[in-house]
Symmetry: C2
Subunit: 442 residues, 2 copies
């Protein structure tokens, strides 16, 4: 073990590792404090070759290794729970290329999402992936978790934005799939394996990502609604009016606005409170709103302000106190009925819970959250919510992934055959089980 550790240190050089507990401590803590890990070595390779050397040594010596990007994951996937080597991509932040004519960018895994958005913007293009944590999350983590976010409605999940990948396999071999083609049917599309695999099948070191023309005219509106049924009807109406070109359609409950105003500050954007709101963005749709009492952003500052309401919800929930969170999706048409049934079921179990249901309703994805006095009923409530989700043919992890948090629930909600094929892939690609061991697979 100590021999393996010294080989690892040699592999990444003096700037490429740390054993200092103070340096390492913040990387072992999930940001909400839900998960705490331990490790004796942090490696910070600067190049794909160094990642390759690290994995080869770990594979040879049977050391587990946990890859970490911006440490913004919500399911514990980035935390070394069992003393594994922590592999941070924080030194791999280069934008290797940006091709304006070909509309793509090649970014290293440790590139912060915001920096990739900015690089695209500087070339008058758009990289549409957008999350509340975009100031610190990284491309490697975004792809390893197949991140979602606010623009999935129009541009798809992170998976849909990938043209090519560079991946280091468990044994250190570099799999160069860093292509920039929009069409390439030469054999199995191997990059798909690693997207959303949470670092359990290989370590993503770089990606070629699609860029898009920047939308010329953007309308952003906050629209008061009586209930979630009205949200579904409005979504259908506005998609019809725009030819399916809305970029975002977010549901926000009144309590969400209240929590943001209380903890983050700002003024209520609408004169009268409403039970629910939709935050909608897309090509001009003002005409289709009729006489709805909506706030339409007239300036970029107003637009940013409306989005701040949405993006601050998680932070406001945290400041309000303990919460139970569920990142679920159900078929679109089932959303109102699901909210009614699942809310009632949770309140029956925890009467003091206050529902804070919001999210990317245009994708069928809700952050089905509750403020609670304490989190002692976490597992019981998750069981209630997820059982209801599966009765509605939904998913218990729409965008956050499995990590450790939902790993053992897979047995309850997936077929044996599906789990068997997942294990086949793990066995084939990481026979020594060194890559993020204990994550994803039950």
């Amino acid at each position: 073990m100590s021999d393996a550790l010294s080989r690892l240190k040699d592999a990444v050089g003096p700037k490429g590792f740390s054993e200092d507990p103070h340096t390492i401590a913040p990387l072992l803590e999930e940001w909400r404090g839900t998960y705490h890990g331990r490790t004796s070595l942090l490696v910070m390779p600067a190049t794909t070759q160094e990642v390759s050397r690290v994995l080869a040594i770990c594979n040879e010596t049977g050391l587990g290794v946990v890859p970490q990007g911006g440490n913004t994951g919500l399911v514990g996937g980035q935390i070394p729970f069992d003393g594994e080597v922590l592999l941070s991509t924080r030194r791999m932040t280069r934008i290797r290329a940006l091709d304006k004519e070909g509309a793509h960018v090649i970014a290293e895994a440790g590139s912060v999402l915001y920096n990739v958005q900015k690089a695209a913007e500087d070339a008058d293009l758009l990289f549409p992936l957008s999350l509340a944590s975009e100031g610190s999350c990284t491309i490697g983590g975004n792809l390893s978790t197949n991140a979602g976010g606010a623009n999935v409605l129009r541009y798809g999940m992170a998976r849909a934005l990938v043209l090519g990948l560079e991946v280091v396999l468990a044994d250190g071999r570099v799999l160069d799939l860093l292509r920039t083609l929009h069409k390439d049917n030469t054999g199995y599309d191997l990059k798909q394996l690693f997207i959303g695999a949470e670092g359990t099948l290989g370590v993503i070191t770089a990606a070629a990502l699609k860029l898009f023309p920047r939308p010329r005219q953007v309308t952003t509106a906050l629209i008061p609604l009586a209930d979630p049924d009205a949200a579904i009807a409005l979504l259908a109406h506005l998609q019809d009016a725009t030819g399916g070109l809305l970029t975002a359609f977010e549901l926000i409950p009144r309590i969400g606005i209240d929590l943001v105003l209380k903890h983050i500050g700002g003024a209520d954007p609408l004169r009268a409170p409403a039970p629910w709101y939709a935050l909608v963005e897309g090509p001009p749709f003002e005409d289709a709103l009729g006489d709805a009492d909506a706030v339409i952003a007239q300036t970029e500052a107003q637009r940013v302000n409306l989005w701040r309401l949405r993006e601050s919800l998680s932070e406001a929930q945290k400041l309000e106190g303990p919460s139970l969170k569920h990142d679920i999706s159900v078929p679109l048409a089932a959303i109102p009925e699901f909210i009614r049934e699942a809310t009632a079921a949770v309140l029956a179990a925890v009467p003091q819970a206050r529902p804070v249901t919001f999210g990317h309703v245009g994708d069928g994805n809700l952050h089905f959250n509750f403020q609670v006095p304490d989190t002692s009923r976490r597992d019981a409530v998750a069981r209630i919510v997820h059982d209801t989700v599966y009765r509605f043919h939904g998913s218990m992890s729409a965008e956050h992934g499995i990590g450790v948090m939902k790993r053992d629930d897979l047995v309850r909600y997936k077929s044996e055959t599906e789990l068997a094929v997942m294990r086949m892939l793990k066995q084939a690609l990481d026979p020594g089980n060194i890559l993020n061991p204990g994550k994803v697979l039950p």
Copy 2:
């Protein structure tokens, strides 16, 4: 063997098989006559359960099995070359569900693409996959080959249209991934494995497919161009003008128009001939065309007529005589230079060849074809074209797949590591090598 065959016949019942050479013959012949196969048994299961039984028997007895949809593949993937059992999906044509509000359709593998398009249209929705062979190709084949076609520019390849899959594994286990969610990050996205795997990792029996709002206003124009450089500039200009919403941008050479008028009939849509044309479709872009001498379809009949020029190119090439075809892609910006270099290289080798280069240039995808006196130089010309493609960081199979035609070329153009991971997957999912043996993997 004869015991295995009788078990297979029992498994599918009297309507589910044929040993009649006259019935089987057309299924053994690739439509251009390039490939001929042989088999002693055609099975036509009517249900997923019957497919499951067929594969279980084949796996147990070591019989190879070749899945086939509409037999429109161009690389021999659907042909049993070595006496394998031929599994036709022609009796699995049910549209199991169409959800208008949720905008998806669940279709069985043998559903003809046109029928799925029609079902969507009847619900005032759009299924955007569109190919010249849409009247006979099937959803199972479309997904197994990750089909491309005319609308990739806006809607992506077939892969991008899949919400869920039902797949039968080599040993007969049914892998039910038939979800209809837009976001689901619960473990590895297994459906990706089978899309584009050409039936070598499992047999797709049904798919949940995304539907879209029908575009409200469509402009279709045929625009004369001096050269491919002008096409690239026009594409950038029109994408900018429409906010990236063009649905199709097809390049057609003058000789293509000539061949269609000669063999298929019709009138020249433009007064004066031009060296090249772009067939462009999308939201209204007339204003952005300036004073270009373009034909803009004023009626649906005119629109169909313009598209007929493009869709008839393969048929016209066939009627003109022997041809050499290459389904390649290169990065968009490299297209003009690639066409110049690769055309010169082919003409140096086969001076009588006449270039007929057309295709989905908006996706970087060209059908880089030549009319030739005979096909004796097929392999040499393919080598010249593909070597040039890879110098330009392109792909030798943009949308048609690998099949047998390009199988052995993978060794030349893929890394050892990439081929090793492909083989790992094959070994893990089909250890007996019964699924479409001899296809894709070199």
